[in-house]
């Protein structure tokens, strides 16, 4: 089966699941049910797309297939902001906060953090990428400790509000944010699309990329920004999903067996949509909402991650 054909199969599969999700068990007020379901679909497509694309980009840049963008500490920034709002102003401020304001605050702080991190580090010439990842990881751990410190101090009832935000959930999606999130993700995707071939070269590693005339530092800097935007937007939309990108990226590598990013990116994004829509179908129809999507994704992802580690160890 050619790679083009595989993409077609995935598109058909994704569309099939979307149709199933929209029309299965259609009862009551059709208008209302269809609208609420299509809003969920749009959110899942956006999050699936952003999570998959950001992970593939990040792994290509670092030449490492078991890293995820979460190691630069963006989810910790997200949790820190949620906790700090509750800690300083009380949980009602967080729950009553307008969606747009909340989105701006969350996405803004994550993107702001990345801009600061990169501009500070890239300013000193010749810094390598791994140094930046390391600093991000240390800051992320620091934010996590700060977050848990504040969580110990607050009222347990308030903590339960924060706990809700710790796991991604499609059920309480913020519909008025779909447009701005969609636009940002589309812009990031368009930029990526125009640099597909450079991504192919980047997967050869830094030295080969420079030898073949890729402006390595500039390209990596921009790609890191793209990754930050994708991760921030999707996290602000539904909350942090840890393993999701890692699974779909690796499934795509195994399925396509190629270096070409036009297939890898499209494939990972489609697998992302399939996983989210399929997972949400399972949550709604099998578990009847007794669990959330991210619990399922994290469990499947955790098992797959262990499998990857064991497999990689054997390869070395």
């Amino acid at each position: 089966m050619s790679n083009r054909m595989k993409v077609v199969v995935l598109v058909v599969l994704a569309l099939g699941l979307i149709v199933l999700f929209l029309f299965a068990h259609l009862r009551g007020d059709f208008d209302y049910v269809l609208r609420s379901r299509s809003e969920k679909i749009v959110a899942m497509v956006l999050v699936g797309w952003a999570g998959a694309v950001s992970t593939v980009l990040f792994q290509t840049m670092t030449n490492n297939r078991i890293l995820t963008p979460s190691i630069i500490g963006l989810d910790s920034v997200y949790m820190l902001v949620q906790t700090a709002v509750v800690f300083l102003f009380g949980s009602t401020t967080l729950t009553m906060m307008g969606n747009t304001l909340h989105f701006l605050l969350s996405a803004g702080s994550m993107i702001g953090f990345s801009v600061l991190l990169y501009s500070f580090l890239f300013h000193r010439e010749g810094q390598n990428l791994y140094f930046i990842l390391l600093v991000g990881m240390i800051l992320g751990t620091f934010f996590q400790s700060l977050t848990s410190f504040m969580q110990y101090l607050i009222d347990p009832n308030e903590f339960s509000i924060i706990q809700d935000r710790m796991f991604a959930s499609i059920n309480n999606i913020k519909t008025d944010l779909l447009w701005p999130a969609g636009l940002l993700i589309a812009a990031a995707t368009l930029y990526t699309y125009r640099h597909l071939h450079e991504l192919d070269v980047l997967s050869l590693g830094k030295d080969h990329a420079i030898n073949l005339g890729v402006a390595y530092e500039t390209v990596v800097k921009r790609l890191l920004m793209i990754v930050a935007v994708l991760v921030s937007v999707s996290t602000a939309l539904v909350g942090p999903i840890m393993f999701f990108g890692l699974i779909v990226a690796n499934v795509a590598y195994a399925f396509f067996q190629t270096y070409e990013h036009r297939y890898l990116l499209a494939g990972a994004a489609l697998f992302g949509i399939i996983a989210l829509v399929g997972g949400q179908l399972v949550v709604e129809r099998v578990f009847t909402f007794s669990t959330t999507l991210s619990v399922i994704v994290n469990m499947v992802g955790g098992v797959y991650f262990l499998y990857l580690l064991l497999k990689e160890r054997k390869a070395w």
Binding site: N63, N64, G126, E198, V201, L212, G213, V214, A215, Y259
Partner: protein, 251 residues
């Protein structure tokens, strides 16, 4: 013409390349020799803009290296480092096709395909061209990388220990190919060499580095002598002439 002028490189407070000047003879095979830590690889990496320099100038065909657009430079010089681990799964043909990236930015034209086919033929990789890189032996893999450099079609080729991990037979094969590139295609090759006798038998020009400075340079006969080599390596060596080749005995 590649000319290195007063080039400087520091790591932390330690100077690893101390104001090195060098001019690379055209259409010749030049070997950089010297003990471990002399700065050979560092110098080669700076000459091919893989790492930035901390001072001095490197001129390539009348233009300073920092003033080139990197994609323009990729059509003039190519560099191959000693360890080449590639995470992506590639066939030989796909790898060699990457050599055309500076010209086609990923959309291969008919002419690009001709260059790729020619490079594969030149390195005698035709039977292997659809095999994946991780299925090849060390020597075959090294040949595939050289084929990629060939497809890049640059006048200057920089190689960091091209004989690394090759057995005697494949090392000789590799050196004969490099010789052919210089003699038949008129390429200028600069390479870092550890095996002094391979350098002696196949290069036209030798440059010896020690502690980040050039200690001597010249044609093979002027470098391959007892006193000069003893000075470079701090080792009691004897140079003998066997079948018109200068062989260093250092065991």
């Amino acid at each position: 013409m590649v000319e290195v002028k007063q080039v400087l490189k520091r790591y932390g407070g330690k100077t690893v390349i101390d104001r090195v000047s060098l001019s690379v003879p055209r259409r010749k095979l030049t070997s950089l020799i010297g003990p471990n830590g002399a700065g050979k690889s560092t110098l080669l990496s700076m000459m091919s803009r893989l790492i930035p320099k901390d001072g001095g100038e490197i001129w390539i065909e009348g233009k300073e290296i920092a003033r080139y657009r990197t994609e323009e430079l990729a059509k003039k010089i190519s560099i191959l480092k000693q360890s080449n681990h590639i995470a992506a799964r590639l066939t030989v043909h796909e790898l060699v096709s990457f050599g055309r990236f500076p010209y086609s930015r990923g959309r291969l034209t008919r002419q690009d395909r001709d260059y790729v086919r020619e490079a594969i033929r030149y390195m005698e990789l035709e039977p292997l061209q659809d095999r994946y890189m991780d299925e090849l032996s060390g020597g075959q893999r090294q040949r595939a990388y050289i084929a990629m450099v060939l497809a890049q079609d640059t006048d200057y080729i920089f190689l960091d220990e091209p004989l690394n991990n090759l057995d005697m037979k494949h090392a000789v094969q590799m050196m004969k190919v490099l010789r052919k590139l210089v003699d038949e295609l008129g390429k200028t090759i600069v390479m870092v060499m550890h095996d002094i006798n391979f350098a002696s038998c196949y290069s036209d020009y030798m440059v010896a580095l020690k502690d980040g400075a050039v200690v001597c340079e010249g044609d093979v006969s002027s470098i391959m002598s007892d006193e000069v080599l003893r000075g470079i390596y701090d080792l009691d060596v004897r140079v003998q002439t066997i079948e018109n080749r200068r062989i260093c005995v250092y065991f």
